[in-house]
Symmetry: C2
C-alpha cells in the first residue's frame, strides 16, 4: 500500500485532498505546522491525527503532497524529492524547466518519471481541461480570458469572511476593511488576485499565461487575461474568447469533441437555462463548459464559451490526485 | 420652467431619475400604472403624488422620460413624441435609423432636434464613456468585452431577492429557484442576461454590439461580448480587451486622456489597491477606469482595462438626464 503525506492538511486544498483519499488504497499521513500537531481532523468517516511536519516523516512516504506556501515549498521541495515523489500545489516550481507541470488529461503522457512535479494554478487547470482538446483539433492561435474567481482561492478563512459579510451587509461604507482580500468582497468584485507585476498584470494573470503555454507545449502562444475575484464560494468561472488557426466547421462538432474529453461536461442548452455556473459546478469533478458560440470577430476561426469548475477539486486537489495516479508503482 | 413626466416612476431607474431631478429647475410629474396611482412617493426631501399614466397628461409636459417595458414604449413612444420630447430607456427604438441613440459626452453633438430619443443599454453606456475618447485618439479596431453585471439591471425586486438570499444562504441546494433571475444569484454567477438570440448570444450581448457601433458611428466595428450577472447590487463592471489601428505610445498618455474625459474617473494605482470596483463606483456619476495595461497579444496596438459604473446612474438615469440638457429651450 502506497503511503502519502498531505502536508498542510488543515487548509482548504489539504482537506479536499483528504476527502479524495477517503476509501482509497492509499495510507494517509496528515501533516501540518507545530501549532496544529496533535489535534484530530475529521474528514468524512475518518479521523486523522495531525503530525508535525518533518523531512524524516515525509521520507517514510512514497508520495508527499505539498499544499503549503510557495516559500515553504521552495525551502523543502527539492529535499523531499530525494526520497519521495513530491507534488507541489504552490507556484514555486511551476516555471522551472526541469519540473513537469501536469494536467494529466492534457499532458500526462509527457510525464517522464521526475520526482518533483508541479500542480497548476486553479484558473489554469480549469481552462486547460477545455483548451487542451480544442487545441489538438483546431490549433489555438490566441486566447483572451476573463475570470470570475471564487473566495476559496484565498483559503478557508476567506470563504468564512465572505459568508459573514454577505450575511451582515448593509452598505459598502461599513465594509471597506477586509482581512483575507484586498477589499471587502461581499456584493463587490475585485480586479486583483495575487500581487502586481511590472507590466501591470497580476501574478495570477501571468500564471495563467505561463502555465497554459507550458502545459500545451506552445511557448509563444498569444494569451491575455484579466483575473477578477467575485463573491462566490468555491467554483471559478471563466469567459474564453479563442482564436484558432483551423476553421471550426460546426458548433455541434465542438460539443461532441468536448463531451468526449476527460473531465469535461458540456452544459449547453441555453434556451432552457442550462449553462455553466458556480452553483452547479461546485463539488463536481468535471469542468462545465457551455455558451459555446462563434466569436463575432474571428467568425469561423473563433469560439467564445463560458466554463466553470470547482476550484478546490479540478483547480487543485483533484488534479494532484490524478497526477498521483500517473506515478509508477 | 420645463415640465417633465417620469413614466414608470416606481421602478429603480425611475426613482433614480427623481433623485437627479431633486432641486433642479424642472417641474416633475410622476406617472405609473393605475395600480400605483394615488400613492405618494418619497424621494429625498420631496414627496410626489403618483398620477396614472395618460397620453393627455404626458402631452402637457415638455419632456417625457419613459422607464417602462419595451412593449409599452413601442405602443406609446411615437404618439407621445408628437407633442413632447420623449427619452425612452427601453431598447424599443434604439436600433431604428430615424431615432438617435445618445450618450451625450460621446455623440451628443450629432443630436439634430429629433423628438424621440433612445437611451442606451447600461453596459453600453458605461463602456462608451471610456471607448469614445479612446476611439477618437487611437481608432478602435476591435473590442472583446466580458461584463460583471449587478442585480439592479433586473430591477428593484431583484436587488431585494439577492440581498435576502445572500443573508439566508446555506447551500446551493436550497437556492435553485429564483423569481427575478434565471437562477439563484447569491454566491453564484449567471452567464445569461436577457433572452437568447439565434447566434447563441444573449440579447444583452448583442445590444452592446449594436449600440457601440451606432453611438461610435462605426457600423462594422468588430465586437464580441459575454454578459454575466454577478451578485453585486447596482454597479456593473467590465473587462475590456481593445485593439487599435494606431499604436498607443504610452499608458500615461492614456490615463491623461481618460482623466480629461467627461464622466470618467481614472482609478489606477494598483500597487495601493486602487482600481475600479462596484463598491467604490456605486452612487458615483463618473465611470471608474483602471487596470490600464498593454494587451499581451496586441502589444502597443492594444489595451486591457477594467471599468465600473453605477448601473442606475451612468447606465440609465444620469445618461437620460444629460440627454435632457441637450434639448432646445
Amino acid at each position: 500500500m502506497k503511503k502519502i503525506a498531505v502536508v498542510g492538511c488543515t487548509g482548504a486544498v489539504g482537506m479536499t485532498m483528504l476527502e479524495l483519499l477517503e476509501n482509497t488504497a492509499y495510507e494517509v499521513v496528515c501533516m501540518a505546522s507545530q501549532r496544529s500537531a496533535g489535534k484530530r481532523l475529521k474528514v468524512g468517516d475518518s479521523e486523522h491525527l495531525i503530525e508535525p511536519f518533518s523531512v524524516e516523516g515525509c521520507a517514510t512516504c512514497d508520495i508527499v503532497f505539498l499544499c503549503v506556501s510557495g516559500s515553504f515549498a521552495l525551502e523543502y521541495g527539492e529535499r523531499l524529492a530525494q526520497s519521495s515523489y513530491v507534488i507541489d500545489n504552490s507556484s514555486a516550481f511551476r516555471y522551472a524547466d526541469h519540473v513537469p507541470l501536469l494536467v494529466p488529461p492534457i499532458n500526462g503522457q509527457r510525464y517522464a518519471g521526475e520526482k518533483l512535479i508541479a500542480n497548476p494554478n486553479c484558473s489554469s487547470a480549469i481552462a486547460l481541461m477545455v483548451l487542451g482538446p480544442l487545441h489538438d483539433e483546431y490549433q489555438l492561435e490566441s486566447a483572451i480570458i476573463s475570470t470570475y474567481q471564487a473566495a476559496s482561492g484565498a483559503g478557508q478563512p476567506a470563504m468564512e469572511e465572505l459568508r459573514e459579510r454577505a450575511r451582515s451587509f448593509t452598505d459598502y461604507g461599513d465594509n471597506d476593511s477586509a482581512e483575507h482580500f484586498a477589499h471587502n468582497l461581499a456584493f463587490n468584485v475585485i480586479p486583483q488576485v495575487d500581487s502586481f507585476e511590472d507590466n501591470g498584470y497580476t501574478r495570477e494573470e501571468m500564471k495563467v499565461v505561463w502555465e497554459l503555454r507550458k502545459v500545451l507545449g506552445e511557448p509563444d502562444l498569444a494569451i491575455s487575461t484579466t483575473a477578477v475575484r467575485v463573491p462566490t464560494l468555491r467554483s471559478h468561472a471563466e469567459a474564453l474568447s479563442l482564436r484558432f488557426t483551423k476553421p471550426v466547421q460546426s458548433l455541434d462538432r465542438v460539443r461532441q469533441l468536448l463531451a468526449a474529453a476527460a473531465g469535461v461536461e458540456v452544459v449547453d442548452t441555453p434556451a432552457t437555462g442550462s449553462y455553466p455556473m458556480p452553483m452547479t459546478s461546485t463539488y463536481k469533478h468535471a469542468v462545465e463548459v457551455g455558451r459555446i458560440r462563434y466569436n463575432l470577430i474571428y467568425k469561423e476561426h473563433g469560439l467564445d464559451m463560458f466554463i466553470s469548475g470547482d476550484q478546490l477539486l479540478r483547480g487543485a486537489a483533484l488534479n494532484a490526485f490524478e497526477i498521483m495516479q500517473l506515478l509508477p508503482d
